[in-house]
């Protein structure tokens, strides 16, 4: 079992849990957290390199490093693992954000309990990305969800009980749909009469075959269930309202992890389960979700324009950006889907950066109202410059990650939309692509509004003049994220190739692509 | 056809059962209620004897009349002063109780009436189960034998003893 490298993505956090449980002071806890997250980064880089090597050697299997261990025989539940380019990208993202997150929570109260829950959360996240077994995936999904309640409820601020409850209940509601969908998939995983399976790869390998795929009638039922189930986590309109409240109350590292990684679970799940396994229904029903996600793209951006709480603004911008992820996935087009994954990476990093910075500013000024702050550039230039960079990434400045992701999405979506339009299949995709494009303007409006009010202009509150700039751990946390954002922005083709080679041709054969 | 004696005996038993049970739930003196209960229990024991279940009747008298009622009396003496009346029933609660009783009566009565034909069969002959049969059945493990429930009941009683001690213990 331990011969497979992927299992260590779960083992390392578990070891970290044990280590933190044994720690006796905050110094040791930090040491364990940092060492562990560094080990995770190293591990994901190693996996990435090995993956590239194997691909370069001509390996064509849809997933590599696959392995499977029986877990519960009667229901064919296995701990099946395997990764492709997308999962590796997600693993990298998660490990970086866990790393930055541990630095961002350097001075948290009750560090032991906090880190225990935080690492438990990351067990769920990593587990989710490495498994290819639907049931195990769902289990890890829940493992990632539950600590969130405690992390927000105990370490949060503001209306934390309400927010924690709301977030958990809404996500649980989503996972109820999801569980129905997954069980449905299991029971129709082999209509030809063979052994039922939870394994994504097995189901997907049959998805292109009209006889052996999940029956089309059932796809039409199961697709919405799974898509909505994951879509709730991906903050799809109208199920996004947990996001502003949840992020507003969550402590810094949790916001980072949540917006940075957990919301990506939604997008990843939508792609990996809903679209990958049920391409027929994806094509038939995409228009409904296209409308919803298209709405969330502009809707989130418009809402962010008038909010005055930094975290609310960022949460709504997350709604907009994550809407773009789901939107692009639904275009069912390699370019757009690649863009969606890039957007996940990009949004994960920059929103984590945003939340880290907001947390640092809030830790100093004790307010998140932009009307009560101003001129922070004069007081904390380092944090302010980072904030501007994050903002620029968010509004899609070339050279930073947001631009490449958005452009890939727009180009891909436009191709899909024009193909529909010229093929006489209606102009819904085209219209919504153009609507989504409009978000780049609205994004600029709210980002610059915040930057202008918060960082520039005269100092609003004279008490702020005595505040200090970033400490070394805060610098480390932000620099890590900025470097990653810039790396994606400057060398996008590496990520692009990593991702788009993994879109399975068999699936797209069904979609006629 | 029964003998006149047994009919008279039956009448006495049935009447005392009805009268004393009604009295037990209507009297306001709690000690009297316990006493009426005792009589009702005796009447029940009598019924068992009439049905030829002598062992059962003996157990009824020994355990119920001899044990439980004594417990009741002790409890009553411990918890209420002599001469205390329980509270007067409000007409509403009395009405509600009455409704419940009548409803039970109707439903169960209807059940009895609808199965009338069977219930008017004469009493079949039966060999009175002797002590050996009772003992064998109680200690056997075959079909229709009760070792396991017996043991379960003994455990229950043990648990009950311990529970009683723990609960009633002075802290």
């Amino acid at each position: 079992m331990f011969a497979n490298i992927l299992i260590y993505f779960v083992v390392i956090p578990l070891l970290m849990l044990a280590g933190i449980a044994l720690c006796r002071n905050v110094r040791q806890i930090r040491a364990v957290a940092v060492t562990g997250s560094l080990a995770l980064i190293a591990l994901s880089v190693v996996v990435l390199l090995q993956y590239l090597d194997l691909r370069a050697a001509g390996e064509t299997a849809p997933m590599l490093f696959t392995d499977s261990w029986t877990w519960f025989e009667p229901l064919h539940i296995n701990l099946a693992v395997g990764v492709d380019g997308i999962s590796i990208a997600m693993l990298l993202l998660s490990s970086i954000i866990v790393f930055a997150g541990s630095f961002a929570s350097w001075k948290i109260d009750q560090p032991k309990e906090f880190f225990l829950w935080l690492i438990l959360l990351s067990v769920g996240v990593f587990g989710f990305f490495i498994t290819v077994d639907l049931f195990t995936m769902f289990m890890f999904y829940e493992v990632a969800l539950i600590p969130m309640y405690l992390l927000i409820g105990v370490w949060g601020s503001g209306r934390k009980n309400y927010s924690a409850m709301k977030l958990t209940l809404m996500l649980m509601g989503g996972s109820a749909f999801l569980m129905l969908g997954l069980i449905g998939i299991y029971y129709h995983s082999n209509p030809a009469g063979g052994q039922l399976t939870w394994n994504i790869l097995e189901i997907a390998s049959r998805a292109a075959d009209a006889e052996q795929c999940i029956p089309q009638g059932w796809q039409m039922v199961l697709f919405p269930l799974t898509f909505v189930g994951f879509g709730v986590l991906g903050a799809m309109f109208p199920f996004h309202t947990w996001s502003p409240d949840g992020h507003a109350s969550a402590p810094t590292a949790v916001s980072m992890l949540h917006a940075g990684v957990l919301m990506k679970l939604g997008g990843y799940g939508c792609f990996r389960v809903a679209i990958y396994l049920m391409p027929y229904a994806a094509q038939e029903l995409s228009y409904i979700f296209l409308i919803l996600t298209g709405i969330s793209v502009v809707y989130g951006a418009f809402c962010a324009c008038v909010k005055t709480d930094l975290k609310y603004i960022n949460a709504y911008s997350s709604v907009s950006h994550c809407g773009l992820v789901l939107f692009a996935i639904l275009m069912l087009n390699t370019t757009a889907m690649t863009g969606a994954i890039m957007q996940m990476l990009s949004h994960g990093l920059m929103t984590a950066l945003f939340f880290a910075l907001i947390g640092m500013i809030y830790g100093r000024t004790h307010t998140r109202e932009i009307t009560k702050m101003g001129g922070l550039m004069q007081i904390m230039p380092y944090l302010s410059v980072c904030y501007v960079i994050a903002g620029m990434a968010s509004l899609g400045l070339p050279g930073l990650s947001g631009f490449v992701a958005e452009m890939t999405i727009f180009v891909g979506s436009f191709q899909a939309g024009m193909a529909d339009y010229l093929g006489g299949e209606g102009s819904l995709r085209l219209v919504f692509t153009i609507i989504a494009c409009c978000s780049i303007v609205i994004t600029a409006v709210y980002i610059l509004r915040v930057v202008g009010k918060l960082l520039f202009g005269p100092v609003q509150d004279d008490h702020h003049r005595t505040l200090t700039d970033a400490t070394w751990w805060e610098r480390l946390s932000t620099v890590t994220l900025i470097l990653c954002v810039a790396a994606i922005g400057c060398f996008p083709n590496f990520f692009n190739n990593l991702i788009n080679t993994t879109f399975s041709p068999a699936i797209f054969a069904v979609l006629g692509m | 056809m029964e003998s006149v004696g047994s009919i008279i005996l039956y009448l006495i038993v049935a009447l005392s059962m009805i009268v004393f049970s009604v009295a037990a739930v209507t009297t306001r003196k709690i000690l009297r209620a316990a006493t009426y209960l005792l009589f009702t229990l005796f009447a029940a024991a009598a019924v068992y004897f009439m049905l030829d279940y002598e062992f059962l009747g003996a157990v009824q008298i020994a355990v119920y009349a001899g044990g439980i009622v004594v417990l009741f009396v002790f409890a009553i003496l411990l918890t209420s002063k002599p001469g205390d009346n329980t509270e007067k029933l409000t007409s509403k609660s009395r009405f509600l109780g009455f409704v419940a009783a009548i409803a039970t009566l109707l439903i169960a009565g209807y059940a009895l009436v609808s199965r009338c034909a069977q219930l008017f069969q004469p009493k079949p002959e039966m060999v009175t189960p002797d002590m050996e049969t009772v003992g064998q059945t109680l200690m056997g493990t075959g079909a229709g034998e009760y070792l396991l429930p017996f043991e379960a009941v003994s455990v229950l009683l043990l648990a009950c003893i311990i529970g009683g001690v723990v609960v009633a213990r002075k802290r």
Binding site: - | M1, E2, S6, Y10, M17, I18, S21, V22, A24, V25, I30, A33, L37, T40, L41, V47, Y48, L51, Y53, L56, V59, Q60, V63, Y64, G67, I68, L71, F72, A75, T79, E87, S93, R94, L96, G97, A101, I102, T104, L112, Q118, L119, F120, P122, K123, P124, M126, V134, T137, G144, Y146, P149, F150, V153, L156, L157, A159, G163, G164, V167, A168
Partner: protein, 103 residues
């Protein structure tokens, strides 16, 4: 006059209804317990009667009654222990004063 099963069942039913009435109306816990005993006894009688009249060769009803008596005894003992404990704490044994355990 033949004394058939119904002759035993009807008094037992009346006894049971008395138990119901008493259990619902009385507020004194011991009185409620007494009503409970009445109901139990009524049921016991039914078991015995059905056994005797319908399946005279077997002993199930009888043994059920036997066990019921044993359990009733245990239950009563425990209930009375609890009642006395409550009396110690609340100085009365009115069931209405015992609603701390709601919700």
């Amino acid at each position: 006059m033949e004394i058939t099963a119904i002759y035993y069942l009807v008094p037992a039913l009346i006894m049971f209804c008395c138990g119901v009435y008493g259990f619902i109306t009385r507020k004194n816990m011991i009185a409620m317990l007494i009503s409970l005993e009445l109901m139990l006894n009524a049921v016991d009688i039914n078991f015995a009667v059905f056994n005797r009249f319908l399946w005279p060769g077997q002993l199930e009803g009888m043994f059920f009654t036997l066990f019921a008596i044993a359990i009733a005894a245990a239950e009563t003992a425990l209930a009375i222990a609890i009642i006395i404990n409550i009396f110690r704490a609340a100085k009365n044994i009115d069931v209405r004063s015992l609603n701390e355990m709601k919700f």
